[in-house]
């Protein structure tokens, strides 16, 4: 490891602009003649639009235009799509209802777009939006998946009878039933996974610019995957052909899944720019973000886990109802299926698993991937169930987990996944030691003296990252391949640009990707630039989500670097009159091994471009492109232990300590990896203690600001104790597994297990608010 290479705690290159206020986010962009947009949105959860009268709005000061869905449709703009086909167990395809970018006849959730107003100022656009008179005929609404699937529930889309989108299954039902029938003990539990709003701090924004002379569109947008946005807007929404559409995702202020999808606003602002002849900018306010950003989670599950007389898990049967909201968002169908049920084996050797998932439409905002996406739901379900079983069986929860661990790899689970490597015992032991598990009873007694209930809870998680082998996801219904691309450009003076299809919205790629180049070529970090987020600059790429930038994105860079290195060595060998096989790259020089003969990196690069003296037949220049398609998922895993204190008088929970022992495979920059864990843990603790989207029965969103939706703040969480225990991933050249989501996946069950341990009542649902915990304590 060098000072700046793989494994070094390098301070981030990108920080300078952010700490001086020079970051450039979408809402910071300004172009000549730019005007502002505001959307007219449905105030009803479910209604027929009977008329739209924009005449008053059109006459208001500063108004340039008011446009509706009928005009959008007339111009040939298509409906939004879901890009992952799921088939029900009877073989029928999922039932996808139409999602118009702006509703023309029916609105299906509060916040559904109905019209757009473009005006000179932000304020004028909002004033005029309020003056657009939309008449509605209200229809009955349904909010939860449970209610939506009941007979006689309000019908949301004509395409999906009874609001059922698909009825899907995985695993062997008869084997699971047999295990349960023959079990020495069966633990049964109902698991609720609360609905969340991702809440990146930067609200979504877009700036659409139409260039009439070139018949060309530019879309600045808050996206995690600008190339996918271009592909989808071009191929499915008919905004413009790809060569006439440039998508730029500049600095993006957090994503967490919410910025993967292509929302109506990007499409509408591009189209409105052509219609009105002015560049159109829209920026969500926080209430719009709560109303329109895709939500996450929202599962209800029934679980049966079978044990033999030796406390080994013999079978697992799960029935899940998942709420997908009013429309099927881009990857919504994959989250409660292949991103969820394929992880139901957890860290445990379970011979028989069956899971049935029914998804439902409801009159709520669409639900899609949020940090972890399916894997937090699987982990919460399993780890709450195992903990409950340990209490029922009278076994130490750590021991029950230990005796059921998978110990040999590769391990084929009954639910598709083939775990390549791991050491679950190592992370369990590390976490237990870090928290001083043995000393808990003494600490509990100490807390009791102060009138507090102390609890300890653990969670052993596994997740699947590195998403994903294209052929594998294609066979499971994905509409896209999930490879990644990279181009490494060595300039004539030896400086380097890496163009990556990954996108950084906080992950620090400008630093970690440069560390990889430093490790390989020895050039200083300052002479390496990472370019991303602009479809005009960067070759097609798939973007960043599912903790894939390291395992997939950097693997593509490795492949391109291999090609660069290969050519550079040929050039150096020629210049040094040596054998290519004897050339080594060290400290920015190409050397003949075992001699003092060398050529500096920059001189070799210059030779590549002057082309005065290259090997016979070699093309000038030094620039290589690679596409990397992963061969398997990667499987980060670990153990988290929380220690909490509950005040029985108020029901308030304080997280006293939280230890995390993770196996992310090899690590490029430990400082950045730890930061990812800290952030993930806080989102998971937020889910467990504070956060929850609430709709009332009529479908009004009650949690639509930070005064109502409780975000974790600095005084809600402790400082974390994080450690790494590495088993390198055998599936990619860097041995990386991924670290972006683990914290959010593993932490909720640890917190709820700790609270229920403290109060001696297992019936606490997330978020475990003081009111709920107090009620559980006093339930008698």
């Amino acid at each position: 490891m060098g000072m700046e290479g793989i494994g070094a705690r390098v301070a981030r290159k990108e920080d300078k602009r952010f700490i001086t206020g020079a970051g450039r986010y979408t809402d910071d962009m300004s172009v000549p003649g730019m005007k502002y947009a505001a959307f007219v949105r449905s105030p009803h959860a479910h209604a027929k639009i009977t008329s739209i009268d924009s005449s008053a709005a059109e006459g208001m000061p500063g108004v340039i235009g008011v446009l509706t869905g009928k005009q959008l449709k007339a111009d040939g703009i298509g409906n939004l799509i879901c890009g992952w086909m799921i088939h029900s167990k009877d073989g029928t395809p999922m039932k996808m209802g139409a999602w118009e970018p702006m509703a023309t006849s029916t609105v299906r959730y509060v916040g559904d777009a109905v019209a757009i107003v473009v005006a000179e100022t932000r304020g004028q656009a909002r004033d005029a939006a309020e003056a657009v008179n939309v008449e509605y005929e209200e229809l009955p609404a349904v909010i939860t998946a449970v209610d939506a699937l009941k007979p006689g529930a309000p019908q949301i889309h004509p395409e999906a009878e009874g609001n059922l989108i698909y009825d899907w299954e995985i695993g062997d039902e008869s084997a699971a039933d047999k295990a349960i029938a023959e079990a020495a003990h069966v633990t049964e539990i109902e698991i609720l996974n609360n609905r969340l709003s991702p809440n990146p701090m930067e609200p979504r924004a877009t700036l659409g610019v139409y260039d009439k002379a070139e018949d060309h569109y530019t879309c600045w947008t808050t996206s995690q995957n600008p190339h996918v946005a271009r592909l989808v807007m071009s191929a499915f929404y008919n905004v413009a052909p790809e060569n006439k559409l440039r998508v730029i995702a500049p600095d993006v202020g957090g994503g967490f899944g919410a910025k993967i999808y292509i929302y109506p606003e990007e499409i509408i602002c591009l189209w409105a720019s052509k219609r009105t002849g002015v560049p159109v900018k829209w920026t969500a306010d926080r209430t719009e973000a709560f109303m329109t950003d895709a939500h996450g989670r929202d599962h209800v599950s029934k679980v049966k886990m079978a044990f033999d007389k030796d406390n080994r898990i013999t079978g697992l049967k799960v029935e899940t109802l998942a709420n997908l909201g009013a429309y099927m968002s881009l990857f919504s169908s994959s989250v409660p299926t292949y991103l969820y049920a394929t992880l139901l084996s957890g860290q445990y050797d379970i011979a028989a698993i069956h899971c049935n998932v029914k998804t439902a439409y409801s009159n709520t905002v669409p639900v899609d991937a949020y940090r972890g996406a399916g894997r937090p739901e699987a982990t919460y379900l399993l780890e709450r169930t195992v903990e409950t079983a340990a209490r029922e069986l009278g076994v130490d929860p750590a021991e029950l987990r230990r005796i059921n661990f998978i110990r040999e790899f590769p391990h084929q689970t009954p639910v598709i996944m083939n775990y390549d490597t791991g050491d679950f015992e190592a992370t369990l032991n590390a976490a237990m030691e870090a928290i001083d598990y043995k000393g808990f009873e003494a600490r509990k007694a100490e807390s009791a003296k102060n009138g507090k209930l102390r609890g300890i809870g653990m969670s052993c998680y596994i997740e699947a990252c590195g998403i994903a082998p294209s052929a594998a996801v294609g066979s499971l219904g994905a509409g896209v391949g999930l490879w990644e691309s990279a181009e490494v450009r060595v300039n004539a003076v030896g400086t380097i640009e890496v163009l990556t299809g990954s996108h950084s919205h906080g992950q620090g790629h400008e630093t970690t990707f440069a560390q990889l180049v430093n490790e390989r070529l020895g050039v200083p970090l300052d002479s390496v630039s990472i370019v991303h987020g602009d479809t005009d600059k960067v070759q097609m790429g798939m973007g960043t989500y599912g903790s894939r930038s390291g395992a997939v994105g950097m693997s593509a860079i490795v492949k391109a670097l291999d090609k660069v290195e290969n050519k550079a060595k040929k050039i150096a060998a020629h210049l040094l009159e040596a054998d290519e096989g004897d050339i080594v790259i060290e400290n920015g020089e190409l050397k003949v091994a075992g001699t003092d003969k060398s050529v500096p990196w920059f001189q070799m690069a210059l030779a590549a471009y002057t082309a005065h003296n290259l090997p016979e037949g070699m093309e000038p220049g030094l620039k290589e492109t690679a596409f990397y398609d992963p061969t398997n998922f990667t499987f980060p895993g670990g153990c988290y232990i929380a220690e909490v204190e509950v005040d029985p008088e108020t029901g308030k929970t304080e997280v006293l300590r939280f230890v995390a022992a993770d196996d992310f495979g090899n690590i490029i920059n430990p400082m950045i990896v730890e930061g990812q864990v800290h952030g993930g843990l806080t989102q998971g603790i937020g889910q467990a203690l504070l956060e929850g989207v609430v709709y009332d029965e009529s479908g009004q969103l009650l949690t639509a600001s930070y005064q109502d939706y409780c975000m974790p703040r600095a005084d809600d969480v402790p400082s974390y104790e994080v450690s790494h225990h590495i088993t390198p991933c055998p599936g990619n050249p860097l041995g990386i597994k991924g670290c972006g989501e683990a914290g959010a996946i593993g932490s909720p069950p640890a917190i709820i297990n700790a609270i229920t341990n403290a109060i001696g009542n297992n019936n606490v649902t997330m978020p475990a608010t003081p009111q709920k915990v107090w009620s559980a304590i006093n339930a008698g």
Binding site: G254, R286, G506, V717
Partner: protein, 162 residues
């Protein structure tokens, strides 16, 4: 329309804006100082914190007209050109930021916090309580708290050495 005049980052500026224009929009739209961000519109998240007459203020909570005649410092004007303040430097050194969106507000709030308590007089509990008005979704606060404590201690050492 209001005619607004104020000193921003040491420079006297004036401009016309709608009466309802918030200070944050005046800074961003009229002056092009886009380092101050809008994260929530309800004075909860603190992405918009600037200093008005030496005090940390959420600039989405103040009308531009109310700030007329005031001395305003934004993230762009916190350090001398080409330099970083100890708080800015500590955020970088301790990885106190990820996406960077809440960062300007965090740094302005932290600077005000250290000014109020005096360098070297902060502990973790105080910092966490004082950050109640600033939301970060990326870092889990761990490294922000670390950065603020380090900056506070560094500034105390600097003051002692001077």
């Amino acid at each position: 329309m209001s005619e607004v005049t104020m000193t921003v980052n040491g420079r006297k500026v004036s401009g016309q804006c709608e009466d309802r224009t918030l200070l944050v929009h005046f800074l961003r739209d009229n002056l092009g100082l886009t380092g101050t961000h809008v994260g929530c519109d309800t004075s909860q998240c603190g992405a918009c914190v600037v200093h008005v007459d030496g005090k940390a203020v959420k600039s989405c909570t103040m009308l531009a007209a109310q700030a007329s005649g005031s001395d305003v410092v934004t993230i762009e004007g916190l350090a001398a050109e080409g330099d970083l303040t100890p708080v800015q430097a500590a955020f970088k050194e301790h990885h106190g930021l990820q996406c960077g969106f809440c960062t300007p507000g965090m740094i302005m709030a932290a600077t005000d916090m250290i000014n109020r308590y005096g360098a070297g007089n902060l502990d973790e509990k105080t910092v966490r309580a004082e950050l109640e008005g600033n939301i970060c979704r990326c870092t889990g606060y761990h490294n922000i708290v670390k950065a603020i404590l380090a900056a506070s201690d560094d500034m105390a050492k600097g003051a002692a050495a001077a």
